[in-house]
C-alpha cells in the first residue's frame, strides 16, 4: 500500500483557482450566444390571467419572450423513488407558471436578448396580469388552513410520514418525568458564493448544456424526455463549480427553459442567476416546527420520544420529493437507546419558495430539536447534560444496532461505530472538565459563558451504486471515469489517491474524469455524503479488477484495456458525530460570540485528512451561522424579506469561531475501503451545540432558546425576565 491513502495530497487545480484561471459557467461565452432572463412572479399567490409581451419585444435587441403557451406543458419530476408519493406527484412545478402563480419568484416568462442589460430591461416590461389571492404561510397554520396552495390536493398537507418503534404509550406511562417543548427552525439555504448558471448550445440533433452539477445523469435523462430528444443527444458538462451544499444541481425550471430556448432560437443561450433571484428561486430548506416530548426515568434513562413536525415544503414538490419531511423522523432518535418512539412529520405546502435539501437535511434540524430537549430534560432531572448522554448513548458492544420500524419504513440501522466511546473522545479532546472550570472562573468575573454539547447521527453514503472505469496507459498514467460530480470539495484528488494506492502509482499520475455525460455513461451524482464512499469503492474495485486481470492474462496493466466495476450500496450508512460549542453572550444587547467549536466525526477511514477537515470545518461554520445569523423570513402576504446578502447574513471571518476537528476511524465493514462520508458531518450538530451553549450562558431566570436563529434581538428577549 502506497502512502497515497491517509495523506493530505494537494489538489491539482488549486494553483489555477488561486490565480483566477478557474472556469465557472459565467466565464463561458459561446459565439452567437443570446442571454436569458427569467420573469418572476412578484406576488405569492395569484391567478395568472395572461402575460403581455409587446412592450418587452419592442426593445431593440430582444429576441423573444417565452410564456407557458410557448413551452412544453411539463413538470419538474421527482428524482428519488423513496420520496415519491401520488400526492407529491400531483403538485409538481411547471417550467413556466400557467394559470396560477404560487410563490414570489416563480418563473412566469423567459426573455431572450442580445445582452444581459437588455434582457433585464425587457423582463421589467413583461406584464403579468395577476388577480392576487390569499396566501398560506406558516407551515403549522397552512396544515389546517382552507387557503390551499394546490386546490386539487384538497389540503396543504402532501403526506404524513410516521416513524414508529416500540410501545410509546407504555414508555410514557412508565416515565417519572415527561418534558415537552415546541421548537422552531427558520428557512435557510445553502447560498454558495456562485449563483446558478447555464450555457446551452444546440448541436446536431441535440443540445449541450454547460454548468451542470450534482446529478448530471438523472438530469440528462429527464431533459431528454422533457425536450423530446434522444438521451444520447443531450450532453451535460460540468465546469468549475462554486459550491453546492445541496441546492445546486437539482433540476429546476431554468434547467429546462434554457436548453429549450437554445433549441428554439437555434443559438446558444446563456443564463446567470443573480443573487436577488437566487434567494427566491434556489431551493430553501430547514423551515420546520417540532412539538416534541421525551419521557425518562428519574435517574435519566430515556424511555420514549413522541412528537409531530410540520415541515415547510414550499409551493411545489420538486426533485427531492417529500425527502425534507422523511429525514427528520429518521434522525430524531439519534445515537441513543430508546424503548419507544412515535414521530410524525407532515410535509406541508406553503406559498413560498419550494424546499429541497441543504447540507445535513433533516438531520441538522432533528439534532437541534432533540439535543435541546435533552438539555431541558437534564435540567429538569438536575442531571449534568454530559451524564444524561453517557447514560443513554448506544454502547459499542451493542453494534450493529437496529430500530425496526415495521412495514412502514426501512429500519434505522447503525451498522458500526462506537457512539459512547466517540462522545468520550470529544470530551477529552475538548478538555471538558477544565472548560467547566474556566467557565466558573469567568462567571465569577461577571461574564456570561456557556458550554453546549450535541451527539448526533448522520445518514450518508446513499447508494444504490456507482460504476467506475479504469484504464492504464503505457506511460504509467491511469484514467478513471466515474459518474459523480465536483462541488468544489476535492473529488478528483480523493479518487485519484484511491486509484493510485491500488495501482501503485502516484496520485498525480491519475486523471479523474467525471465532468461530461458523453464521457461517462451513467452515475447517481454527488449528494448525501456519498461520493468518496460509493464512487471511491467503485474505483478501488475497478483498479483491483484491472490488476487481477493483468495477472491472469500475464500482461502489464496498460495492455488490459478498460475495466469497469460497480460498488453496490443497498443501505445508507450512519455516522456518529459529536459537537462542542463554547459561547459568551451579553444579555443586554443579546450578542452571542461563538468562541470555540469542536467537532468529532467518525470517518471510518480518512483518505485525505486535510480535505476531510476542510469539509468538517466549513460545515461547522455554516452550522454556527445557522444557529445565530441566517433566516429567510416572509411577511404575511408571502413577500420574502431577505432579498440581498445584507439581509441573509452569511458569516464573515469575525463571526466564525476557530473550529477544531477530531477524526475517529472505525473502519466500516462491508465496504472495501472501510470509509464513511464527511461532506455534511460538520453542520449536523452545530446548531444544536451552539443553542445548548446559549442556553447554558443565559442568566438564571432567562427563557429557554427554542427557536433559531438566536439573533441578538432574540437573545435579548430571552434574557429579559432575568434582568
Amino acid at each position: 500500500m502506497s502512502a497515497a491513502i491517509g495523506t493530505s495530497v494537494a489538489r491539482a487545480r488549486d494553483p489555477l483557482l488561486l490565480t483566477g484561471r478557474g472556469r465557472y459557467v459565467a466565464d463561458l461565452d459561446l459565439p452567437g450566444q443570446a442571454w436569458a432572463r427569467v420573469v418572476r412572479s412578484p406576488v405569492a399567490h395569484a391567478t395568472l390571467r395572461g402575460v403581455a409581451t409587446e412592450a418587452a419585444l419592442a426593445i431593440p435587441g430582444v429576441l423573444a419572450v417565452l410564456t407557458a403557451a410557448d413551452v412544453p406543458d411539463v413538470r419538474i419530476p421527482i428524482r428519488l423513488p423513496f420520496a415519491t408519493t401520488p400526492e407529491g406527484l400531483s403538485v409538481l412545478q411547471p417550467v413556466l407558471a400557467r394559470d396560477v402563480v404560487r410563490y414570489v419568484g416563480e418563473p412566469a416568462a423567459l426573455v431572450l436578448a442580445e445582452d444581459p442589460w437588455t434582457a433585464e430591461d425587457a423582463a421589467e416590461l413583461v406584464e403579468l396580469d395577476l388577480d392576487v389571492l390569499e396566501t398560506a404561510g406558516d407551515p403549522v397554520e397552512a396544515a389546517s388552513s382552507s387557503t390551499l396552495v394546490h386546490e386539487r390536493l384538497g389540503s396543504n398537507v402532501v403526506n404524513t410520514i410516521p416513524v414508529r418503534f416500540g410501545d410509546v404509550e407504555a414508555a410514557f406511562a412508565a416515565a417519572d418525568v415527561v418534558v415537552a417543548r415546541r421548537l422552531e427552525l427558520p428557512r435557510q439555504t445553502g447560498a454558495p458564493l456562485e449563483t446558478r448558471g447555464l450555457v446551452a448550445e444546440p448541436t446536431d440533433g441535440g443540445v449541450t448544456i454547460h454548468g451542470a452539477a450534482k446529478v448530471k445523469h438523472f438530469n440528462r435523462g429527464v431533459l431528454a424526455e422533457l425536450l423530446d430528444l434522444p438521451p444520447e443527444r443531450v450532453r451535460l458538462v460540468e465546469v468549475d463549480v462554486g459550491g453546492g451544499f445541496g441546492v445546486r444541481g437539482e433540476l429546476y425550471p431554468e434547467d429546462v427553459l434554457v436548453p429549450f430556448a437554445a433549441l428554439r432560437l437555434g443559438r446558444p443561450v446563456k443564463w446567470v442567476e443573480d443573487r436577488a433571484e437566487h434567494l427566491v428561486a434556489t431551493n430553501h430548506a430547514r423551515g420546520q416546527v417540532h412539538e416534541l416530548e421525551v419521557a425518562a426515568t428519574a435517574d435519566g434513562r430515556l424511555l420514549g420520544l413522541r412528537g409531530t413536525a410540520w415541515v415547510d415544503q414550499g409551493a411545489y414538490i420538486r426533485t427531492q420529493g417529500i425527502l425534507p419531511a422523511i429525514l427528520p423522523g429518521h434522525h430524531l432518535p439519534g445515537p441513543y437507546v430508546w424503548e419507544a418512539f412515535d414521530l410524525t412529520a407532515h410535509a406541508v405546502l406553503t406559498h413560498r419558495t419550494p424546499v429541497g435539501t441543504y447540507r445535513g437535511p433533516g438531520m441538522t434540524e432533528a439534532s437541534f430539536v432533540r439535543e435541546r430537549l435533552l438539555d431541558v430534560l437534564a435540567a429538569e432531572l438536575d442531571l449534568d447534560p454530559v451524564e444524561l448522554r453517557r447514560r443513554n448513548l448506544i454502547p459499542a458492544e451493542r453494534m450493529p444496532f437496529v430500530y425496526d420500524l415495521g412495514s412502514e419504513s426501512p429500519p434505522i440501522a447503525y451498522e458500526s461505530g462506537d457512539f459512547a466511546g466517540g462522545f468520550e473522545v470529544l470530551l477529552e479532546s475538548v478538555g471538558y472538565d477544565s472548560a467547566r472550570g474556566e467557565q466558573a472562573r469567568r462567571r465569577a468575573a461577571g461574564e456570561h459563558v456557556g458550554l453546549g454539547l450535541a451527539a448526533t447521527v448522520e445518514m450518508g453514503a446513499i447508494g444504490p451504486f456507482e460504476d467506475a472505469a479504469v484504464t492504464m496507459s503505457d506511460a504509467g498514467r491511469a484514467v478513471v471515469r466515474v459518474g459523480v460530480a465536483s462541488l468544489g470539495q476535492g473529488v478528483e484528488t480523493v479518487l485519484a489517491q484511491i486509484a493510485a494506492d491500488e495501482l501503485g502509482i502516484e496520485p498525480d499520475a491519475v486523471e479523474v474524469r467525471h465532468h461530461d455525460t458523453d464521457d461517462v455513461a451513467s452515475g447517481f451524482g454527488s449528494f448525501a455524503s456519498r461520493t468518496t464512499v460509493v464512487a471511491g469503492n467503485a474505483v478501488a474495485l475497478a483498479c483491483r479488477a484491472l490488476v487481477k486481470r493483468a495477472r491472469e492474462q500475464g500482461v502489464v496493466l496498460a495492455e488490459v484495456g478498460e475495466v469497469t466495476a460497480r460498488f453496490e450500496k443497498p443501505h445508507p450508512s450512519f455516522s456518529f458525530g459529536a459537537t462542542f460549542s463554547l459561547v459568551s453572550l451579553d444579555p443586554e444587547t443579546g450578542r452571542v460570540v461563538p468562541e470555540r467549536h469542536v467537532v468529532l466525526h467518525d470517518i471510518g477511514r480518512a483518505i485525505n485528512p486535510a480535505l476531510v477537515e476542510g469539509q468538517l470545518a466549513g460545515g461547522a461554520v455554516q452550522g454556527v451561522a445557522g444557529a445565530l445569523l441566517e433566516e429567510l423570513p416572509y411577511d404575511e402576504t408571502g413577500q420574502p424579506l431577505a432579498v440581498s446578502l445584507a439581509d441573509y447574513r452569511l458569516p464573515t471571518v469575525l463571526d466564525a469561531p476557530p473550529v477544531e476537528v477530531v477524526l475517529v476511524e472505525h473502519p466500516v465493514p462491508g465496504n472495501p475501503l472501510g470509509i464513511k462520508g464527511a461532506g455534511e458531518a460538520g453542520i449536523v450538530g452545530a446548531p444544536a451545540a451552539v443553542a445548548n451553549a446559549v442556553a447554558d450562558a443565559l442568566p438564571p431566570g432567562a427563557e429557554e432558546p427554542l427557536a433559531l436563529p438566536l439573533t441578538p434581538q432574540r437573545v435579548h428577549a430571552l434574557a429579559r425576565p432575568a434582568r
Partner: protein, 157 residues
C-alpha cells in the same frame, strides 16, 4: 458635442490594467467587474453584484475596492489590478502560495477576492497584527472553508 454618454454607446475606458496600459471597450452601465470580465479577465467573480460578498475585489489605485460597485467609466485613467496580475500558477504571489499551502480554498469562487486582499495585506501592511488581518479579511465571504485556513495563510509573514 454632447457630454453625455448613453447606454447604447460604445464607451472606451483607458486605464492601467495589471501594470499595462489597456483600453476596455465597454458601455456606461457596465461595472468595472463586468468590463474586466468581458475583456477576458474572468478571475474577478460576481457573487452578488451589490457589494457584499467581495468575490469581485480588485485594487483600484492600489487599494482594495469592490469592482461591482465601480462603474467601468470611473476606472478611466486609473490603475486597476485584478487577481490575474498577482501571479501565475507557476509563479504564485507569496499570499497565494500561503493560501495554497494552508488549503485556504475549496470551490475557489471567493478565492480571487481573498487572494487580492491577502496580497494587499502582505505587500502594504506587512506588520498587520491578527486583529487587523481578521478585520480586513472580514470584507469577503467564503461559504466553503469556515475561514480558518484563509486567516492562517494571511498570518504567515
Amino acid at each position: 458635442m454632447s457630454r453625455w454618454h448613453h447606454p447604447g454607446d460604445l464607451f472606451e475606458v483607458e486605464l492601467v490594467l495589471n501594470g499595462e496600459p489597456a483600453t476596455l471597450e465597454t458601455h456606461v452601465r457596465a461595472t468595472l467587474a463586468d468590463a474586466v470580465r468581458a475583456a477576458g479577465l474572468t478571475g474577478t467573480h460576481l457573487g452578488c453584484e451589490h457589494g457584499v460578498c467581495g468575490a469581485c475585489t480588485v485594487l483600484l489605485d492600489g487599494d482594495p475596492a469592490r469592482a461591482c460597485l465601480v462603474l467601468a467609466a470611473q476606472a478611466s485613467g486609473r490603475r486597476v489590478d485584478t487577481v490575474e496580475g498577482l501571479g501565475t500558477p507557476d509563479a504564485l504571489h507569496p499570499a497565494q502560495q500561503a493560501l495554497l499551502e494552508a488549503r485556504g480554498l475549496q470551490c475557489g469562487f471567493c478565492t480571487p477576492g481573498f487572494a487580492v486582499l491577502s496580497a494587499w495585506l502582505h505587500d502594504r501592511e506587512p506588520e498587520a497584527d491578527e486583529e487587523r488581518i481578521r478585520e480586513v479579511l472580514s470584507s469577503s465571504l467564503c461559504r466553503c472553508t469556515g475561514y480558518g485556513p484563509i486567516v492562517a495563510a494571511a498570518m504567515q509573514r
